[in-house]
Protein backbone atom coordinates (compact mmCIF):
# COMPACT_ATOMS: atom_id res chain seq x y z
CA UNK A 1 0.00 0.00 0.00
CA UNK A 2 1.19 3.52 -0.71
CA UNK A 3 1.66 5.89 2.20
CA UNK A 4 -1.34 7.83 0.96
CA UNK A 5 -3.55 4.75 1.09
CA UNK A 6 -2.37 3.93 4.62
CA UNK A 7 -2.94 7.49 5.84
CA UNK A 8 -6.34 7.76 4.16
CA UNK A 9 -7.62 4.74 6.05
CA UNK A 10 -6.80 6.04 9.54
CA UNK A 11 -10.07 6.64 11.40
CA UNK A 12 -11.09 9.84 13.11
CA UNK A 13 -10.82 9.17 16.88
CA UNK A 14 -14.03 11.02 17.69
CA UNK A 15 -16.11 9.97 14.68
CA UNK A 16 -14.71 6.50 13.97
CA UNK A 17 -17.18 5.99 11.12
CA UNK A 18 -15.10 8.44 9.08
CA UNK A 19 -11.56 8.14 7.86
CA UNK A 20 -9.28 11.16 8.08
CA UNK A 21 -9.66 11.41 4.30
CA UNK A 22 -13.50 11.44 4.56
CA UNK A 23 -13.29 14.16 7.22
CA UNK A 24 -11.11 16.32 5.00
CA UNK A 25 -8.38 16.90 7.61
CA UNK A 26 -5.75 15.00 5.61
CA UNK A 27 -4.26 17.68 3.44
CA UNK A 28 -1.20 16.11 1.85
CA UNK A 29 0.85 12.92 1.85
CA UNK A 30 4.28 12.94 0.23
CA UNK A 31 6.49 9.92 -0.01
CA UNK A 32 10.16 9.70 -0.92
CA UNK A 33 11.65 6.24 -0.39
CA UNK A 34 10.79 5.21 3.17
CA UNK A 35 10.29 8.79 4.28
CA UNK A 36 6.71 10.11 4.53
CA UNK A 37 5.45 13.58 5.34
CA UNK A 38 1.76 13.79 6.19
CA UNK A 39 0.06 17.15 6.53
CA UNK A 40 -3.17 17.44 8.54
CA UNK A 41 -5.30 20.34 9.74
CA UNK A 42 -7.31 20.57 12.97
CA UNK A 43 -11.11 20.82 12.85
CA UNK A 44 -11.49 23.19 15.83
CA UNK A 45 -8.77 25.12 17.70
CA UNK A 46 -9.34 23.09 20.86
CA UNK A 47 -9.93 19.74 19.16
CA UNK A 48 -8.42 17.19 21.58
CA UNK A 49 -8.44 14.57 18.80
CA UNK A 50 -5.57 16.21 16.94
CA UNK A 51 -2.84 14.61 19.06
CA UNK A 52 -4.60 11.28 18.72
CA UNK A 53 -4.72 11.65 14.93
CA UNK A 54 -1.02 12.47 14.83
CA UNK A 55 -0.06 9.42 16.84
CA UNK A 56 -2.46 7.10 14.94
CA UNK A 57 -0.99 8.24 11.63
CA UNK A 58 2.51 7.75 12.95
CA UNK A 59 1.72 4.28 14.23
CA UNK A 60 -0.06 3.03 11.10
CA UNK A 61 2.64 4.32 8.77
CA UNK A 62 5.39 2.85 10.91
CA UNK A 63 3.56 -0.51 10.94
CA UNK A 64 3.35 -0.30 7.15
CA UNK A 65 7.14 -0.13 7.03
CA UNK A 66 7.84 3.57 6.71
CA UNK A 67 10.82 4.41 8.87
CA UNK A 68 10.87 8.14 8.75
CA UNK A 69 7.40 9.57 9.38
CA UNK A 70 6.75 13.23 9.96
CA UNK A 71 3.31 14.64 10.71
CA UNK A 72 2.93 18.33 9.97
CA UNK A 73 0.00 20.54 10.93
CA UNK A 74 -1.28 23.36 8.80
CA UNK A 75 -3.70 25.91 10.19
CA UNK A 76 -4.37 27.68 6.92
CA UNK A 77 -6.74 27.43 5.16
CA UNK A 78 -9.03 26.69 8.13
CA UNK A 79 -10.98 23.44 7.99
CA UNK A 80 -14.60 23.61 6.91
CA UNK A 81 -17.32 20.96 6.96
CA UNK A 82 -17.46 21.48 3.17
CA UNK A 83 -14.30 19.35 3.05
CA UNK A 84 -16.14 16.27 4.33
CA UNK A 85 -16.41 13.98 1.30
CA UNK A 86 -19.74 12.91 -0.22
CA UNK A 87 -18.88 9.44 0.95
CA UNK A 88 -18.31 10.86 4.44
CA UNK A 89 -21.72 12.53 4.47
CA UNK A 90 -23.36 9.24 3.49
CA UNK A 91 -21.50 7.29 6.21
CA UNK A 92 -22.57 9.83 8.85
CA UNK A 93 -26.26 9.43 7.94
CA UNK A 94 -25.92 5.65 7.98
CA UNK A 95 -24.59 5.86 11.52
CA UNK A 96 -27.38 8.04 12.84
CA UNK A 97 -25.52 11.36 12.66
CA UNK A 98 -27.08 14.08 10.50
CA UNK A 99 -24.49 15.46 8.07
CA UNK A 100 -23.77 19.18 7.68
CA UNK A 101 -25.21 21.16 4.76
CA UNK A 102 -22.78 22.49 2.21
CA UNK A 103 -22.14 26.15 3.03
CA UNK A 104 -19.85 27.42 0.28
CA UNK A 105 -17.44 30.33 0.67
CA UNK A 106 -18.48 33.07 3.10
CA UNK A 107 -19.40 36.46 1.72
CA UNK A 108 -16.90 39.25 2.44
CA UNK A 109 -17.69 41.99 4.99
CA UNK A 110 -18.71 41.80 8.66
CA UNK A 111 -19.95 38.44 9.87
CA UNK A 112 -23.75 38.53 10.14
CA UNK A 113 -25.47 37.96 13.49
CA UNK A 114 -27.98 35.14 13.76
CA UNK A 115 -30.60 36.14 16.29
CA UNK A 116 -32.65 32.96 16.09
CA UNK A 117 -31.67 29.36 15.36
CA UNK A 118 -31.31 29.07 11.58
CA UNK A 119 -34.22 27.37 9.83
CA UNK A 120 -32.01 24.80 8.15
CA UNK A 121 -33.71 21.71 6.85
CA UNK A 122 -32.05 18.85 8.68
CA UNK A 123 -33.56 15.42 8.09
CA UNK A 124 -33.81 12.87 10.88
CA UNK A 125 -31.15 10.21 10.27
CA UNK A 126 -33.44 7.60 11.88
CA UNK A 127 -36.76 8.04 10.07
CA UNK A 128 -35.98 10.61 7.39
CA UNK A 129 -38.55 13.15 8.65
CA UNK A 130 -37.77 16.77 7.86
CA UNK A 131 -39.58 17.93 11.03
CA UNK A 132 -36.61 18.28 13.39
CA UNK A 133 -35.65 20.99 15.87
CA UNK A 134 -32.37 22.13 17.32
CA UNK A 135 -32.06 21.44 21.06
CA UNK A 136 -28.57 22.89 21.39
CA UNK A 137 -25.99 24.24 19.03
CA UNK A 138 -23.33 22.58 21.16
CA UNK A 139 -23.21 18.80 21.47
CA UNK A 140 -20.98 16.09 22.90
CA UNK A 141 -18.01 17.33 20.88
CA UNK A 142 -17.11 20.72 19.44
CA UNK A 143 -18.25 19.76 15.95
CA UNK A 144 -21.75 18.55 16.84
CA UNK A 145 -25.15 20.11 17.53
CA UNK A 146 -28.00 18.27 19.27
CA UNK A 147 -31.40 17.96 17.56
CA UNK A 148 -34.67 16.08 18.04
CA UNK A 149 -37.05 14.56 15.54
CA UNK A 150 -40.68 15.69 15.95
CA UNK A 151 -41.99 12.52 14.30
CA UNK A 152 -40.05 9.59 15.78
CA UNK A 153 -39.14 11.73 18.86
CA UNK A 154 -35.57 10.45 18.84
CA UNK A 155 -32.77 12.86 19.67
CA UNK A 156 -29.84 12.82 17.27
CA UNK A 157 -26.57 14.61 16.65
CA UNK A 158 -25.69 16.73 13.67
CA UNK A 159 -22.29 17.85 12.46
CA UNK A 160 -22.78 21.61 12.48
CA UNK A 161 -21.66 23.67 9.56
CA UNK A 162 -18.43 25.58 10.04
Amino acid sequence: MSARQVAEQVLDPELPVLTLADLGVLREVSEVGDRVVVTITPTYSGCPALDEMRSDLHEKLTEAGYRDVEIRTVLHPAWTTDWISDDGLRKLTEHGIAPPSRIGPRAVGPIPLTLEPPKRRVSCPHCGSARTTELSRFGSTACKALRRCEDCREPFEQIKEI
Binding site: T39, S45, L50, V74
Partner: protein, 293 residues
Protein backbone atom coordinates in the same frame (compact mmCIF):
# COMPACT_ATOMS: atom_id res chain seq x y z
CA UNK B 1 -0.58 1.39 46.02
CA UNK B 2 -1.48 4.20 48.38
CA UNK B 3 -1.08 7.93 48.02
CA UNK B 4 -1.50 10.76 50.48
CA UNK B 5 -3.54 12.62 47.92
CA UNK B 6 -5.15 11.75 44.63
CA UNK B 7 -2.80 13.89 42.61
CA UNK B 8 0.28 11.97 43.71
CA UNK B 9 -0.77 9.09 41.50
CA UNK B 10 -0.53 11.45 38.56
CA UNK B 11 3.19 12.01 38.93
CA UNK B 12 4.15 8.35 39.27
CA UNK B 13 6.08 6.98 36.32
CA UNK B 14 3.10 5.59 34.43
CA UNK B 15 3.56 4.51 30.87
CA UNK B 16 0.13 5.66 29.84
CA UNK B 17 -0.62 9.37 29.65
CA UNK B 18 -3.37 10.43 31.99
CA UNK B 19 -6.52 12.09 30.78
CA UNK B 20 -6.13 15.12 33.03
CA UNK B 21 -5.07 18.55 31.85
CA UNK B 22 -1.45 19.44 32.03
CA UNK B 23 1.86 18.60 30.50
CA UNK B 24 2.51 15.74 28.16
CA UNK B 25 0.59 17.24 25.25
CA UNK B 26 2.24 17.86 21.95
CA UNK B 27 3.25 21.47 21.36
CA UNK B 28 0.05 23.23 20.26
CA UNK B 29 1.73 24.46 17.08
CA UNK B 30 3.54 21.21 16.41
CA UNK B 31 4.41 20.87 12.75
CA UNK B 32 3.24 24.41 11.90
CA UNK B 33 5.61 26.71 10.03
CA UNK B 34 6.48 29.28 12.69
CA UNK B 35 9.10 31.42 10.98
CA UNK B 36 8.98 35.07 12.06
CA UNK B 37 9.51 37.79 9.50
CA UNK B 38 12.72 39.75 10.14
CA UNK B 39 10.72 42.98 10.00
CA UNK B 40 8.67 41.99 13.05
CA UNK B 41 9.90 42.81 16.57
CA UNK B 42 10.05 39.42 18.31
CA UNK B 43 9.45 40.71 21.84
CA UNK B 44 6.45 42.72 20.71
CA UNK B 45 5.05 39.73 18.87
CA UNK B 46 5.43 37.52 21.95
CA UNK B 47 3.76 40.16 24.14
CA UNK B 48 0.87 40.48 21.70
CA UNK B 49 0.36 36.70 21.55
CA UNK B 50 0.23 36.74 25.35
CA UNK B 51 -2.44 39.46 25.35
CA UNK B 52 -4.76 37.58 23.00
CA UNK B 53 -3.84 34.21 24.51
CA UNK B 54 -4.47 35.38 28.08
CA UNK B 55 -7.89 36.81 27.13
CA UNK B 56 -8.85 33.35 25.89
CA UNK B 57 -7.21 31.36 28.69
CA UNK B 58 -8.61 33.39 31.57
CA UNK B 59 -12.07 33.57 30.06
CA UNK B 60 -12.04 29.81 29.35
CA UNK B 61 -11.32 29.29 33.05
CA UNK B 62 -14.33 31.47 33.97
CA UNK B 63 -16.60 29.58 31.57
CA UNK B 64 -15.44 26.23 32.93
CA UNK B 65 -16.66 27.29 36.39
CA UNK B 66 -20.20 26.82 35.03
CA UNK B 67 -19.73 23.15 34.30
CA UNK B 68 -22.46 21.27 36.23
CA UNK B 69 -23.89 24.58 37.48
CA UNK B 70 -25.70 25.90 34.39
CA UNK B 71 -29.53 26.07 34.34
CA UNK B 72 -29.76 23.07 32.03
CA UNK B 73 -27.52 20.23 30.90
CA UNK B 74 -27.34 21.54 27.34
CA UNK B 75 -25.93 24.77 28.71
CA UNK B 76 -23.25 22.98 30.73
CA UNK B 77 -22.19 21.39 27.46
CA UNK B 78 -22.42 24.62 25.46
CA UNK B 79 -20.32 26.67 27.90
CA UNK B 80 -17.74 23.89 28.17
CA UNK B 81 -17.53 23.72 24.37
CA UNK B 82 -17.06 27.47 24.10
CA UNK B 83 -14.37 27.27 26.79
CA UNK B 84 -12.64 24.47 24.87
CA UNK B 85 -12.56 26.53 21.66
CA UNK B 86 -10.99 29.42 23.58
CA UNK B 87 -8.55 27.13 25.34
CA UNK B 88 -7.44 25.84 21.95
CA UNK B 89 -6.85 29.39 20.76
CA UNK B 90 -4.99 30.14 23.99
CA UNK B 91 -2.72 27.11 23.60
CA UNK B 92 -1.64 28.16 20.13
CA UNK B 93 -1.05 31.77 21.15
CA UNK B 94 0.76 30.92 24.39
CA UNK B 95 2.90 28.36 22.57
CA UNK B 96 3.86 31.00 20.05
CA UNK B 97 4.74 33.47 22.82
CA UNK B 98 6.56 30.78 24.78
CA UNK B 99 8.68 29.73 21.87
CA UNK B 100 9.88 33.29 21.33
CA UNK B 101 10.49 33.85 25.04
CA UNK B 102 12.21 30.52 25.60
CA UNK B 103 9.50 28.96 27.74
CA UNK B 104 6.34 26.93 27.04
CA UNK B 105 2.56 27.13 27.25
CA UNK B 106 2.36 25.26 30.56
CA UNK B 107 4.85 27.51 32.32
CA UNK B 108 3.04 30.56 30.97
CA UNK B 109 -0.36 29.30 32.08
CA UNK B 110 0.58 27.87 35.45
CA UNK B 111 3.62 29.71 36.73
CA UNK B 112 2.97 33.38 36.08
CA UNK B 113 1.58 35.66 38.75
CA UNK B 114 -1.33 38.02 38.28
CA UNK B 115 0.83 41.01 37.29
CA UNK B 116 2.34 38.99 34.43
CA UNK B 117 -1.02 38.25 32.82
CA UNK B 118 -2.04 40.57 29.97
CA UNK B 119 -5.77 39.85 29.63
CA UNK B 120 -8.47 42.52 29.68
CA UNK B 121 -10.57 42.82 32.84
CA UNK B 122 -13.73 41.66 31.07
CA UNK B 123 -12.19 38.17 30.84
CA UNK B 124 -11.44 37.89 34.54
CA UNK B 125 -14.30 39.51 36.48
CA UNK B 126 -16.70 37.24 38.35
CA UNK B 127 -19.98 37.15 36.39
CA UNK B 128 -21.26 34.03 38.16
CA UNK B 129 -21.69 31.27 39.12
CA UNK B 130 -19.79 33.03 41.93
CA UNK B 131 -21.36 35.88 43.92
CA UNK B 132 -20.44 38.40 41.18
CA UNK B 133 -23.26 37.46 38.87
CA UNK B 134 -25.62 34.85 37.49
CA UNK B 135 -26.46 33.17 34.20
CA UNK B 136 -27.78 36.43 32.70
CA UNK B 137 -24.59 38.29 33.64
CA UNK B 138 -22.64 35.41 32.12
CA UNK B 139 -24.56 35.78 28.84
CA UNK B 140 -24.01 39.56 28.91
CA UNK B 141 -20.25 38.98 29.17
CA UNK B 142 -20.29 36.28 26.50
CA UNK B 143 -22.09 38.66 24.16
CA UNK B 144 -19.67 41.55 24.68
CA UNK B 145 -16.53 39.39 24.75
CA UNK B 146 -17.38 37.34 21.68
CA UNK B 147 -18.62 40.34 19.67
CA UNK B 148 -15.32 42.10 20.44
CA UNK B 149 -13.03 39.12 19.90
CA UNK B 150 -14.83 38.15 16.69
CA UNK B 151 -14.34 41.66 15.27
CA UNK B 152 -10.70 41.56 16.38
CA UNK B 153 -9.87 38.13 14.96
CA UNK B 154 -11.78 38.88 11.77
CA UNK B 155 -9.42 41.77 11.09
CA UNK B 156 -6.42 39.78 12.29
CA UNK B 157 -6.95 37.25 9.47
CA UNK B 158 -5.10 39.84 7.37
CA UNK B 159 -2.09 39.94 9.75
CA UNK B 160 1.40 40.00 8.28
CA UNK B 161 2.26 37.20 10.74
CA UNK B 162 1.05 33.95 9.15
CA UNK B 163 0.53 32.13 12.46
CA UNK B 164 -1.61 34.95 13.91
CA UNK B 165 -3.57 35.12 10.65
CA UNK B 166 -4.23 31.38 10.67
CA UNK B 167 -5.14 31.20 14.37
CA UNK B 168 -7.51 34.12 13.77
CA UNK B 169 -9.16 32.50 10.74
CA UNK B 170 -10.02 29.39 12.75
CA UNK B 171 -11.15 31.49 15.69
CA UNK B 172 -13.53 33.53 13.55
CA UNK B 173 -15.58 30.44 12.72
CA UNK B 174 -15.75 29.43 16.38
CA UNK B 175 -16.57 32.87 17.73
CA UNK B 176 -19.40 33.29 15.25
CA UNK B 177 -21.16 30.45 17.08
CA UNK B 178 -20.28 31.88 20.52
CA UNK B 179 -21.66 35.32 19.66
CA UNK B 180 -24.88 33.91 18.22
CA UNK B 181 -25.35 31.74 21.30
CA UNK B 182 -25.05 34.74 23.62
CA UNK B 183 -27.26 36.94 21.45
CA UNK B 184 -30.01 34.33 21.40
CA UNK B 185 -29.90 33.99 25.19
CA UNK B 186 -30.04 37.76 25.68
CA UNK B 187 -33.18 37.85 23.54
CA UNK B 188 -34.67 34.88 25.36
CA UNK B 189 -34.03 36.29 28.84
CA UNK B 190 -35.12 39.82 27.91
CA UNK B 191 -38.29 38.47 26.30
CA UNK B 192 -39.11 36.03 29.11
CA UNK B 193 -40.69 37.05 32.40
CA UNK B 194 -40.33 40.41 34.15
CA UNK B 195 -37.90 38.70 36.49
CA UNK B 196 -35.66 37.26 33.76
CA UNK B 197 -35.67 40.64 32.03
CA UNK B 198 -34.65 42.38 35.25
CA UNK B 199 -31.76 39.96 35.67
CA UNK B 200 -30.65 40.54 32.06
CA UNK B 201 -30.69 44.30 32.56
CA UNK B 202 -28.70 43.91 35.79
CA UNK B 203 -26.22 41.61 34.05
CA UNK B 204 -25.51 44.08 31.28
CA UNK B 205 -24.85 46.75 33.91
CA UNK B 206 -22.17 44.53 35.49
CA UNK B 207 -20.14 44.08 32.30
CA UNK B 208 -20.67 47.45 30.63
CA UNK B 209 -18.18 49.43 32.77
CA UNK B 210 -15.42 47.21 31.29
CA UNK B 211 -16.27 48.02 27.67
CA UNK B 212 -13.93 50.99 27.20
CA UNK B 213 -10.83 48.96 28.08
CA UNK B 214 -11.52 46.68 25.11
CA UNK B 215 -10.91 49.53 22.69
CA UNK B 216 -7.89 51.09 24.39
CA UNK B 217 -4.64 50.24 22.62
CA UNK B 218 -1.50 49.34 24.56
CA UNK B 219 1.69 50.82 23.01
CA UNK B 220 2.69 47.33 21.81
CA UNK B 221 -0.64 46.94 20.00
CA UNK B 222 -0.06 50.35 18.45
CA UNK B 223 3.42 49.49 17.22
CA UNK B 224 2.43 46.10 15.84
CA UNK B 225 -0.69 47.52 14.21
CA UNK B 226 1.50 49.96 12.33
CA UNK B 227 3.63 47.03 11.18
CA UNK B 228 0.50 45.27 9.89
CA UNK B 229 0.82 42.47 12.44
CA UNK B 230 -1.76 43.45 15.07
CA UNK B 231 -5.16 45.11 15.11
CA UNK B 232 -5.58 48.51 16.75
CA UNK B 233 -8.53 47.81 19.07
CA UNK B 234 -9.76 51.39 18.74
CA UNK B 235 -10.73 50.54 15.16
CA UNK B 236 -13.15 47.88 16.38
CA UNK B 237 -15.42 50.18 18.33
CA UNK B 238 -18.01 51.10 15.72
CA UNK B 239 -18.40 47.55 14.48
CA UNK B 240 -18.80 46.12 18.01
CA UNK B 241 -21.14 48.94 19.04
CA UNK B 242 -23.33 48.24 16.08
CA UNK B 243 -23.54 44.50 16.86
CA UNK B 244 -24.38 45.22 20.50
CA UNK B 245 -27.00 47.80 19.52
CA UNK B 246 -28.58 45.31 17.12
CA UNK B 247 -28.90 42.68 19.84
CA UNK B 248 -30.12 45.13 22.48
CA UNK B 249 -32.57 46.63 19.99
CA UNK B 250 -34.01 43.21 19.09
CA UNK B 251 -34.31 42.47 22.82
CA UNK B 252 -36.05 45.78 23.52
CA UNK B 253 -33.22 46.84 25.82
CA UNK B 254 -31.05 49.94 25.93
CA UNK B 255 -27.40 50.41 26.76
CA UNK B 256 -26.86 50.51 30.53
CA UNK B 257 -26.26 54.00 31.87
CA UNK B 258 -23.16 53.19 33.93
CA UNK B 259 -19.78 54.83 34.28
CA UNK B 260 -16.67 53.23 32.89
CA UNK B 261 -14.05 51.80 35.28
CA UNK B 262 -10.29 52.00 34.72
CA UNK B 263 -8.75 49.12 32.77
CA UNK B 264 -5.08 48.24 32.68
CA UNK B 265 -5.13 44.49 32.09
CA UNK B 266 -2.83 44.78 29.07
CA UNK B 267 -0.25 46.33 31.39
CA UNK B 268 -0.61 43.67 34.09
CA UNK B 269 -2.94 45.60 36.40
CA UNK B 270 -5.85 43.37 37.40
CA UNK B 271 -9.02 43.40 39.46
CA UNK B 272 -9.32 41.66 42.83
CA UNK B 273 -11.06 38.78 41.02
CA UNK B 274 -7.83 37.73 39.32
CA UNK B 275 -5.88 36.26 42.26
CA UNK B 276 -8.55 33.72 43.33
CA UNK B 277 -9.08 32.76 39.68
CA UNK B 278 -5.38 32.02 39.22
CA UNK B 279 -5.16 30.26 42.57
CA UNK B 280 -7.72 27.74 41.37
CA UNK B 281 -6.34 27.43 37.85
CA UNK B 282 -2.74 26.94 38.97
CA UNK B 283 -3.05 25.02 42.23
CA UNK B 284 -2.20 21.54 40.95
CA UNK B 285 0.70 22.60 38.76
CA UNK B 286 2.19 24.65 41.59
CA UNK B 287 1.64 22.00 44.26
CA UNK B 288 3.51 19.43 42.19
CA UNK B 289 6.27 21.21 40.28
CA UNK B 290 7.47 19.20 37.33
CA UNK B 291 4.54 16.79 37.58
CA UNK B 292 3.77 15.04 34.31
CA UNK B 293 0.47 13.37 33.64
Amino acid sequence: MSFDNAYESLVEGHEEKHWAFGTGFTHALSGVDRAISSTVDRDDLAAYCLMLGDDALVYAQRLAEWCAKAPELEEDVALANIALDLLGQARMLLSRAGEIQGTDEDALAYLRDSSEFRNVHLAEIDCGPGPGGDFATTMARLLVFSAWRLALLHRLTGSADPVLAAVAAKGVKELTYHRDHAAQWVLRLAGGTDYSRERMVAGLAVVWPHLDELFTAHPIEHRLAEAGVAVDPAELRSEVDSVLDTVLGAAGLTRPDVASVPGGGRGGVHTEAMAPLLAEMQVVARALPGGVW
